[in-house]
């Protein structure tokens, strides 16, 4: 089983990289973009097959190290 962890800056926390990418898209004449947020994705290959245990463990990992919850939100998807 894999855990896919997506980490983004919280809504309301300015994302300088997303903003710069948005500017670049504007400069390239891509007009249909309202906002860009840049984040990161971590793919964890897990040994466990128990979704409940895995979610608990990966949540703990996200809280303690993978995300900085002062500025970032995360989502976890198990596949």
């Amino acid at each position: 089983m894999k855990a896919i962890v997506n980490i983004f800056l919280k809504e309301g926390v300015l994302d300088p990289q997303g903003k710069a990418i948005h500017h670049a898209l504007d400069a390239m004449n891509f007009e249909g973009v309202e906002d860009v947020r840049m984040g990161k994705q971590l793919v964890l290959k897990l040994t466990s097959d128990n979704k409940e245990d895995a979610l608990k463990e990966v949540t703990q990992m996200a809280e303690e190290i993978l995300a900085n919850t002062v500025i970032e939100d995360y989502t976890i998807e198990l596949v």
Binding site: L9, V13, L14, P16, Q17, I65, L66, N68, V70, I71
Partner: protein, 224 residues
């Protein structure tokens, strides 16, 4: 004679500058490798110096916060010991929760390396006790992730408790946007005022020939 413990992680690159600075100011020093579990017993001050610990992987300071020595640093700070984090050291101290807030990518995305004027916001603490309030200092900065963030509620606490140490300013002391920090904050301390963090590098401002001696008064406060 005061003894200063200077931490060294893989990727730290200001450890020897920091050692030079405190020895020049009359201290004895030990450089402590991050895998150690104990600080020198005679340490009066612990400095987490600048650099790129663990290559800034994941986030600046994110991996270093779990190095074995950090438990000893947390215990030292919690028992009232003085801790200073400079640049990457500031990032590590926020990641580990010894200082409030977090440091994000600079607003212009550039790595900024230059002399920068700073205003002393509060000097009711050991670190800046020798600097006059409102005084403008000239200290080098060198960082990509110095954009200080803190939510409004916690910002109010910082302000009320005089935990804001320094702000980026122009030469007259007017706040200036350098990297996007909340209200141009360049350095803060914890509520008990024994843990200090700043992005600028006072250890690089000790000699006229290198452009400024304003770092002396800052560092001297911690070893007074």
């Amino acid at each position: 004679m005061k003894h200063v413990a200077i931490l060294q992680f893989p990727g730290t690159n200001c450890d020897l500058d920091t050692q030079y600075a405190f020895e020049k100011l009359g201290c004895t020093t030990t450089v402590v490798w991050h895998k150690e579990r104990q600080l020198p017993l005679n340490a009066d001050l612990v400095v987490v110096p600048g650099g790129f610990s663990y290559g800034d992987y994941l986030r600046s300071g994110a991996i270093a916060q779990f190095s074995p020595i950090m438990n000893a640093v947390i215990a030292f700070a919690n028992s009232g010991g003085k801790v200073l984090g400079i640049c990457n050291g500031f990032q590590i101290l926020t990641e580990v929760g010894l200082l409030p807030g977090a440091l994000k990518r600079n607003i212009g995305l550039h790595f900024i390396s230059k002399f920068q004027t700073l205003k002393v916001v509060n000097n009711s603490n050991d670190f800046l006790q020798k600097c006059d309030k409102e005084r403008v200092l000239n200290i080098p900065i060198a960082h990509a992730d110095g954009n200080y963030y803190i939510d409004e509620e916690k910002f109010k606490v910082l302000e009320e408790n005089e935990q804001i140490l320094l702000r980026y300013s122009d030469e007259h002391g007017e706040p200036m946007v350098v990297n996007g920090s909340v209200t141009s904050i360049a350095g803060v301390c914890n509520q008990n005022k024994n843990v200090f963090g700043l992005m600028p590098h006072p250890e690089r401002a000790l000699e006229d020939i290198l452009g400024s001696t304003d770092g002396i008064k800052m560092l001297e406060g911690l070893i007074a």
